[in-house]
């Protein structure tokens, strides 16, 4: 199916563990984005990618790592999860004039 998918949809982990959130899009969009959404903060950009093998930091990149070896995939890794990283994570693809969002991953760090 065409679109943008995220997995897992829900994840509970413990402090200090590594977690990878997956994002896959079928449109061949050059740009992909990772956001976190928290009450009171709205959407905040973590990392973005302009093309395969090109990534750059957003507003809140600390504690996160991304890679983009293929155009269609943009995984986000929390190297050592902390409670402050409990959030809903959204992946998006598209461009600055229109972004298409995945359904989100709700991550809880205990």
């Amino acid at each position: 199916d065409a679109g943008i998918t995220q997995s897992p949809r829900y994840k509970i982990t413990e402090t200090g563990r590594q977690v990878t959130l997956m994002c896959h899009q079928t449109w061949s969009h050059s740009y992909m984005f990772w956001y976190r959404q928290d009450l009171g903060h709205g959407l905040r950009l973590i990392y973005y990618s302009a093309a395969a093998d090109i990534t750059d930091k957003g507003e809140v990149p600390d504690g996160y790592v991304v890679s983009r070896s293929k155009t269609e995939n943009f995984p986000l890794t929390l190297e050592s999860a902390t409670r402050s990283q409990t959030s809903v994570y959204f992946c998006a693809s598209g461009a600055y004039n229109e972004q298409f969002f995945g359904p989100g991953t709700r991550l809880t760090v205990l």
């Binding site: 903060h41 709205g42 905040r44 950009l45 957003g58 998006a92 600055y96 989100g104």
Partner: protein
């Protein structure tokens, strides 16, 4: 820091009424976009208005942009229960150094009561 600020934060209306929400921003923009987010879902792009446009329509949506006041409004006419969602504005900003980003507001939560 967030550039877009929506108001009101929350709005509750009856079906059939019009809903108006506003967005203010701080610096020059390329365009302004409105997105909708249904509970537990990702955001969906609704409409884009360029910085040289003053008004745009799409179905029951009407967006205005006043660059002198750095503000935009989204009007949903004849609202339906299915319009219940959060609405976000996002401003497309860039500078001479080719830095570019979307800056998101905190959203307006709209409840349309049947």
């Amino acid at each position: 820091s967030q550039q877009g600020e929506e108001d009101p934060q929350a709005l509750s209306i009856q079906e059939g009424e019009n809903a108006t929400m506003n967005c203010s921003y701080k610096t020059s923009i390329n365009n302004l976009q409105w997105y909708r987010q249904n509970s537990g879902r990702g955001l969906v792009h609704l409409i884009l208005i360029r910085s040289n446009e003053r008004e745009k329509h799409s179905g029951r949506l009407r967006v205005t942009l006043d660059t002198s006041k750095k503000s935009s409004s989204l009007l949903i006419t004849a609202s339906r229960a299915a319009d219940t969602a959060s609405y976000f504005c996002a401003t497309d900003w860039s500078n001479a150094g080719n830095n570019r980003k979307l800056i998101w507001g905190l959203g307006t939560s709209l409840a349309v009561n049947p």
